[in-house]
């Protein structure tokens, strides 16, 4: 695949899975999730923002660095996770994802907000704070 080369792949693929995070700790980067472990992540952390993306989607790539930064900013309060909708179509169908990027904001395992399309960082921060009361 010759998308954005190594640089881009790193951004999206090199994240940890939730099992890499010791009990009681919080990640400072987005977790990579798929259909098999998304439920475990939603059970484990009360506040989760799931970034639904695919490698061919430019606005998704544009959003990636913002997600990385927010994962640091909100560490301990909100966990960020990325799911590749191309490889996890059942998840996309379940949540009626029709546009990417879509951010699904979960509170205690329930979707409380969906944000469609890339937005400026400050808008996203406010929407996340608002919907999760953090």
């Amino acid at each position: 695949m010759s998308l954005f080369g190594k640089k881009h792949d790193d951004k999206h693929e090199a994240h940890k899975r939730h099992t890499d995070i010791p009990e009681g700790e919080f990640p400072d980067e987005p977790l990579i999730v798929d259909s098999s472990d998304i439920d475990a992540v939603l059970k484990r952390f009360p506040n989760v923002v799931v970034d639904c993306w695919a490698p061919w989607c430019r606005p998704c790539l544009a959003l990636a660095p913002v997600i990385d930064e927010m994962a640091v900013e909100f560490q301990g309060k909100v966990v960020f996770a990325k799911i590749n909708t191309d490889k996890n179509q059942s998840f996309a169908r379940k949540h009626q994802i029709m546009n990417i990027p879509t951010l699904l904001i979960f509170k205690n395992g329930e979707v409380v907000e969906r944000i469609i399309g890339a937005r400026p960082r400050r808008t996203l921060e406010n929407m996340i704070k608002e919907s999760l009361k953090v």
């Binding site: 010759s2 998308l3 954005f4 080369g5 881009h8 695919a54 061919w56 989607c57 430019r58 606005p59 998704c60 790539l61 544009a62 959003l63 990636a64 660095p65 913002v66 930064e69 909708t85 191309d86 996309a92 009626q96 994802i97 029709m98 546009n99 990417i100 879509t102 969906r114 469609i116 399309g117 890339a118 400026p120 960082r121 400050r122």
Partner: protein, 311 residues
């Protein structure tokens, strides 16, 4: 919060084809140059399914061309991604550029912020945004595999995107408000050959649904009849609007639509500020953006060496 200010000879705003070409020309003429990009490299090019009219590439997908552009550009200049310029302040000797958290100064600024999709403006467009409406076929086409959609528009993007959708297995019908397409003949010929159904001379008046899109109401302009076309998705490609909102307070001259007004050397109404590409209107194509970028950087170089505003 602004930490420290970095100074450059040239700051280029936007890493689309216009900005990247301008940056290469500026750097190669010996000026200290940087590109600030709000999102990721490539601009609209990275959203194009297939490009067949950019010299040297018979047929190339947009993501691939964007990555070729990036490689070439990064030989000369750094591209800072995630840096959205919110304000440009022309001062006596320099131009000040601000993002939400950082600040840059420059002897000259080249604005190449391009354009983004225009909304259709019909009922239901807001309500079903994200629930079956899309402005980016290469992003979202995949979710509509095996489903029925309409593509609204009659220019190159609409026709190109309709062909793309058909290719990835979407059941697409194109709706255009005129009786002939605006798209170039090569595109139209391919559309004819593809067998994609066409609804001509017709306007989408409403997008309706129940939680998600269920269909569109289409007015036939010849007969005045409104018909109902049930669909799962609506793709909209009805032109673009320039990304110039952040310039409103700068005092730079914009035309009625919001495009930056430039002279033939790509100078704007403000000294030290140049513009290139889709943000200046005209023929909005990659090769034109590149050409204007080259001119803008060369003019900036000449002006910095020999300032016309001091004469």
């Amino acid at each position: 919060m602004v930490s420290n200010t970095e100074h450059f000879n040239v700051v280029v705003v936007g890493a689309g084809p216009a900005g990247m070409t301008a940056a290469i020309y500026a750097a190669r003429s010996g000026m200290k140059t940087v590109i600030l990009e709000a999102g990721s490299v490539g601009g609209q090019v990275a959203e194009s399914p297939e490009i067949e009219n950019y010299l040297g590439f018979e047929s190339v997908n947009g993501m691939d061309l964007a990555s070729t552009f990036r490689k070439h550009t990064e030989r000369y200049v750094e591209i800072k991604e995630g840096e959205e310029i919110e304000q440009i302040i022309p001062e006596r000797e320099i131009i000040r550029l601000k993002t939400g958290w950082s600040e840059y100064t420059a002897d000259a600024a080249i604005i190449a912020t391009g354009a983004h999709h225009r909304k259709l403006g019909c009922n239901g467009e807001e309500e079903f945004s994200g629930r079956g409406i899309s402005y980016c076929a290469t992003c979202d086409g995949f979710f509509f595999k095996g489903k029925k959609v309409v593509m609204i528009g009659g220019g190159n993007t609409a026709v190109g995107d309709a062909l793309y959708l058909k290719n990835v297995g979407v059941d697409v019908t194109i709706i255009h408000r005129r009786d002939v397409f605006r798209a170039e003949a090569a595109h139209v010929k391919r559309l004819e050959e593809s067998g994609i159904p066409k609804i001509m001379n017709s306007e989408v008046r409403e997008i309706y649904g129940e939680k998600v899109v269920k269909g569109v109401k289409v007015l036939n302009k010849a007969t005045g009849d409104v018909s109902d076309v049930p669909v799962d998705g609506v793709f909209i490609a009805v032109g673009v609007v320039p990304n110039t909102d952040f310039l409103k307070e700068s005092g730079i001259k914009l035309d009625d639509i919001g495009y930056i007004v430039t002279d033939r050397e790509q100078r704007t109404s403000l000294p030290r500020i140049y513009a290139a590409g889709d943000v200046t209107g005209g023929l909005q194509q990659i090769i034109v953006g590149c050409g204007e970028g080259a001119v803008a950087a060369t003019t900036a170089y000449e002006d910095i060496s020999n300032p016309y505003w001091k004469k």
